[in-house]
Every structure is written in structure tokens, then in C-alpha cells.
């Protein structure tokens, strides 16, 4: 068994800002994630203390481009896919 419980799933869903509809759904995610995380524990078999993690496939550092001014997006374009705008701004519900 892994450490995945419904409480963990609810905590993680909270961090990811995804509402889980009901207890049944929470249980379903718990069962599935438990299986996956449990399977991934196979990595514990390996001796990896001397190994460096590989975060990226390429050995690239600081690729620079010419610093030239470009036309930015217009305000209309930037807002064109939003469902709610007002006076050229994104409109959102109250924060608190």
C-alpha cells in the first residue's frame, strides 16, 4: 500500500484547485492513484545515491536571441478569448 488515502487526494486536489464532485469520486481517484504510486515504488529498489538527476535531455545553457523590439499583441487580441472582460481588462469575481 502506498500513502495515498482519500485525505491525501483531497489535499492534493485542493493544491491543484480542482473540486472533486463527491466522496465516491474521491475514492475512485484514491484507488487509481494508489495503484500507480505503489507501482512507482519499484524505483526504491535502485541504488541511486551517486546518480545525478537528469532534468533535461539537452545540454543547453542560456540561449540568447537578438534584443530587438517587436510589435506586442494588441489589447483586443489579448482579450479576445476571454469570457469576461470590461474596459479592456479581464474581469474576475471578488478575491475574498
Amino acid at each position: 500500500m502506498s500513502e495515498i488515502t482519500t485525505d491525501v487526494v483531497k489535499h492534493v486536489a485542493n493544491l491543484a484547485r480542482i473540486d472533486i464532485q463527491n466522496e465516491e469520486k474521491a475514492q475512485e481517484f484514491t484507488n487509481e492513484l494508489d495503484k500507480i504510486v505503489d507501482y512507482a515504488k519499484q524505483l526504491d529498489e535502485l541504488q541511486l545515491s551517486e546518480t545525478e538527476p537528469m532534468f533535461h535531455a539537452l545540454d543547453l545553457k542560456n540561449v540568447m536571441r537578438e534584443d530587438v523590439a517587436n510589435e506586442p499583441l494588441s489589447q483586443d487580441e489579448a482579450l479576445s478569448n476571454s469570457k469576461s472582460t470590461e474596459d479592456g481588462q479581464f474581469k474576475v469575481p471578488k478575491m475574498l
Binding site: I18, L58, N81, S82
Partner: protein, 491 residues
């Protein structure tokens, strides 16, 4: 002459010679799409009005002998996670159901610049998460070889459309096998280039350190031609590799004698269907007959790659998909009173189950107390795997094996067992984790007459060697005639 059977090169030639007008080609393929794609579901929507208008313009240029562009008049399908200016781009998700991008992906700029014609956007697994096209919010895709079978995924719509002759080529994206696996299932040619070869600008990000865009075509030369056009250093993608541009058609027909090929024993062992093993063993003999030497090697860390991949890819996805908040673009939940509630409801209603599952997994992996245990260990496994493979490439030109553990399975057959489906990505994941180029080409048919794919992996930036071996093999074995039968039957 059947227009749907023509390859990219043949279409280009016939248009250049004025044997065909661009509007005839585009018109004929739209007729086919309208006739058979209700069954296949390979397109999410078609771009008919724009495409017919563009084709008319190209007709005029053809008449005036002003045919500029390496793909003048050649139609294309594009996976729906590659953004197309003003043309709906949904990622097969409710989250982006009505998203009209305000710019083109780099690959689209290049293909439009080559005067290719966009026929429509290809169906896929939602946000490219899945291997059977069953997670699309809109509809399933069916395999042209057998409409009971899945086409594979996540670029299942692209592979099915190319196999069915609805377009001569499409672009897919490959994070853990999403170009190669559907290409194997649909009996076509799919390439995942070296990480950094093709600009990812305008590809909706899934796992940024693994994603690559790649071509899906009906033969190897077409594939190399499309990669020639879409690849290249690009300042809009900070991971685009400078100074590696080359012509992949050059030397594609070179003799294979003296080439050294490695076959990892783990690629033909437990968990691989016998008919797949048999087809690959036959392919190995073919390479030997062509003068290559083939040796068995071992990649001892292969059994861990599925774990490492799902930990890394889900972590990156959980971060990348945080941008979908209902505010700037995409789905927005109704009737929410606070910003927090807007986020929660939008993401609960906009994302499908598989996407949520991966976001939750990734968020767990990256959360306090689990990061070192899971995420870092997975990245260390990646180093181990790369070391195994780089060592092999010191002595060998190429690594070959099957693309998938089995031929295409039936729709609905596996969707309830997520972990089992994840495990089936074991053969394609190594090329993503290491960033190496890898192609899938047909090498057989299963008992049920479903295609089997041969995978050829090269060292970083050695696509030319991969294409060379694939092309020479294709001369000895291909499914071109069988595919024409499939296309005829669908019509």
C-alpha cells in the same frame, strides 16, 4: 488515378507538372472526409471554407507558374494541440472547446509558408494524455484497418486520417510515444525527432522536457521531407538546438552494409505478444540480409521507465496545466462568487478524468515530502537509462525493437485498467526520457490483420541514420498495397 492514394511527393509532383490543380486535390479529399469520417472520427472539425479559398488562390498561382513552396497545394491534417491562428484549437478538451488562437505555432508558420493547405484539426486524447484516443472529450477515433480497434494515441486522429487517405500527412506530438504508437497501430510512418529538433512554440505543453512534434506519413521519404520543413533552430523555443539543421533526404538510400544494430533483449521478452516478437525477428533477419550486423544487448533499466515517465510527465503536466483558470481563455464555470471558486469549478468541469488523474498525481509527486522520494528518483533513473543507451551508441549505429507490446486492441477493451495501459508505453518511453530520435514503420500484420510497428531509435540528432535504415527496410517490406485495399474498402 485515386487522389487519396497519392503521397506527399506524388501530389507535389503532379501539381508542379499541372496534372492536378490544388483545388481538385483539396476538393476530392473533402469529399472523402465527408463520406467516411463520420465512421472514423479522425477530424474534430474541418477547415473547409478557408481551405477551398486557399486552394483557389493556389490554382491561380499554378496557372501563372508561380508555384512557391516545397508543399505547394499539398493538403495536411494537424493534431489539435498545435495552435493554428484563428482556427479552432481544442486539445480535444471541453476546457478549450471554443479557443481561437491569436498566433500560429512555428511549425504552422513553416507549413503555411510552404503553401500546404490545412484541411482540419485531428482528433486526439484530451491534452495528449492517453494511448487509445478514448479520452477525447468529443468522440472516439476508429482504426481504418478495423473499425472495432483503437487507432492508438494520443495522435490517433492524425494516424487514422493519414492511413485512411484523408490527408497525405499530419503532424502529431510525442511525449511518451504519442506519434509512434498510433503510427504502429494504423500501419503508417511516425517520427519523434530528437528533443530540440523541432520548435515547440505553439504546441500546447503537456510535459515540456519530453514533448516533440513529429510527422506522420504513409512512407519514409515523405516523413523525411516533412521533417526537413518543420525542423530548425527557432528563437521562440528556448530548448531549440542551434546549428543542427540538415537535409534528411540526403543519403536516405545509402547501403546498410557494415551498419551495426543493437536489439535490447528487454524489447523482445516478457510482456510482448508473440506475433509482435515474430514480426520483429523477421525484420532483424531483413537487416542482416541487407548487410547490417545485429547484436543483442541489454538495457537493464527498461523495467523502471514507466514509473519514471509517469512521475515526470505528470509533474510537468500539473504545472503546465495550471494556466487553465477560466480567466484569459478557455472554459469558464458559471455562477461562481469568488475567484477561488471560479478556479475550482472551471477546472473540475473543464478537464476530463484522465487529465485530472495526471494533474493530481503530478501535484502529489511535487508536494512537500514526496519530491525527493518520487520526482528526484525518477530524474535519476533517467540518467541511468541515458547512460545505458549512450554506451550502446558508442558501438552501434541504431537500436531496434517493436514499437508496441501488441497490435491494436478493441475499443473499450483496456480503458478501465489505467495502470495496465500506462505499462504498455514501456517501449516508446525510452526515446522521450533520453530525448533521442525514434521512428515507427510497419513490419507486419497480426492474425487479426492489424499492423505491427518496428521502432528504430538513433543517438541524439542522428535522424539521418534512422531514416536511412527505415527507408531501406521499407524497400523490402511495407504495407502500401494493403493500405490501398483498406482505403478502397472504406470508400
Amino acid at each position: 488515378m485515386n487522389i487519396y492514394e497519392l503521397t506527399v511527393e506524388e501530389l507535389y509532383e503532379k501539381i508542379a507538372q499541372k496534372e492536378l490543380k490544388p483545388s481538385e486535390v483539396v476538393g476530392a479529399l473533402f469529399e472523402d472526409i465527408e463520406k467516411i469520417d463520420d465512421t472514423l472520427g479522425s477530424f474534430l472539425f474541418i477547415n473547409k471554407e478557408n481551405a477551398l479559398k486557399q486552394a483557389k488562390e493556389l490554382d491561380e498561382l499554378q496557372a501563372q507558374d508561380k508555384m512557391d513552396g516545397a508543399l505547394f497545394g499539398v493538403p495536411m491534417g494537424i493534431k489539435d494541440n498545435i495552435i493554428t491562428k484563428d482556427v479552432l484549437t481544442t486539445c480535444a478538451s471541453r476546457m478549450l472547446e471554443d479557443f481561437h488562437p491569436i498566433y500560429d505555432a512555428t511549425v504552422m508558420e513553416k507549413l503555411n509558408g510552404a503553401s500546404s493547405v490545412l484541411m482540419g484539426k485531428n482528433n486526439m486524447d484530451e491534452f495528449a494524455m492517453g494511448g487509445s484516443n478514448e479520452t477525447s472529450y468529443f468522440k472516439n477515433v476508429r482504426n481504418p484497418w478495423d473499425t472495432d480497434a483503437v487507432p492508438g494515441g494520443s495522435s490517433g486522429g492524425s494516424a487514422a486520417a493519414v492511413a485512411a487517405g484523408l490527408v497525405p500527412y499530419s503532424l502529431g506530438s510525442d511525449t511518451g510515444g504519442s506519434v509512434r504508437q498510433p503510427s504502429a497501430f494504423c500501419g503508417v510512418v511516425g517520427m519523434k525527432p530528437t528533443y530540440g529538433r523541432v520548435s515547440r512554440y505553439g504546441l500546447v505543453a503537456f510535459a515540456s522536457s519530453l514533448d516533440q512534434i513529429g510527422p506522420i506519413t504513409r512512407n519514409v521519404r515523405d516523413n523525411a521531407k516533412i521533417l526537413n520543413i518543420i525542423s530548425g533552430t527557432n528563437h521562440r523555443d528556448a530548448t531549440s538546438m542551434p546549428n543542427v539543421d540538415q537535409d534528411f533526404l540526403e543519403g536516405i538510400d545509402a547501403d546498410l552494409s557494415g551498419k551495426k544494430i543493437a536489439v535490447p533483449e528487454e524489447f523482445l521478452g516478457e510482456g510482448i505478444d508473440q506475433e509482435v516478437t515474430d514480426a520483429v525477428e523477421k525484420a532483424i533477419k531483413t537487416f542482416e540480409e541487407m548487410g547490417a550486423t545485429v547484436d543483442r544487448v541489454s538495457f537493464p533499466h527498461i523495467k523502471y521507465v514507466v514509473s519514471a515517465y509517469y512521475l515526470i510527465a505528470s509533474s510537468e503536466a500539473s504545472s503546465n496545466l495550471a494556466r487553465f483558470d477560466g480567466i484569459r481563455y478557455g472554459y469558464r464555470a458559471e455562477g461562481t462568487e469568488t475567484l477561488e471558486e471560479l478556479y475550482r469549478k472551471t477546472r473540475a468541469e473543464g478537464f476530463g478524468e484522465e487529465v485530472k488523474r495526471r494533474i493530481l498525481l503530478g501535484t502529489f509527486v511535487l508536494s512537500a515530502g514526496h519530491y525527493d522520494q518520487y520526482y528526484i528518483r525518477a530524474q535519476k533513473l533517467r540518467s541511468k537509462l541515458e547512460a545505458d543507451m549512450l554506451k550502446t551508441f558508442e558501438d552501434y549505429d541504431l537500436v531496434i525493437g517493436p514499437t508496441t507490446t501488441s497490435a491494436a486492441y478493441d475499443i473499450g477493451e483496456k480503458i478501465d485498467d489505467k495502470l495496465r495501459m500506462y505499462k504498455e508505453d514501456i517501449l516508446t518511453i525510452p526515446a522521450n526520457l533520453t530525448g533521442m530520435p525514434s521512428i515507427s514503420i510497419p513490419c507486419g500484420l497480426s492474425e487479426k490483420k492489424r499492423p505491427i510497428g518496428l521502432q528504430i531509435i538513433g543517438n541524439h540528432f542522428e535522424e539521418s541514420k534512422v531514416y536511412n535504415a527505415a527507408y531501406k527496410f521499407e524497400e523490402k517490406y511495407n504495407l502500401h498495397e494493403e493500405l490501398k485495399e483498406v482505403q478502397k474498402e472504406l470508400r
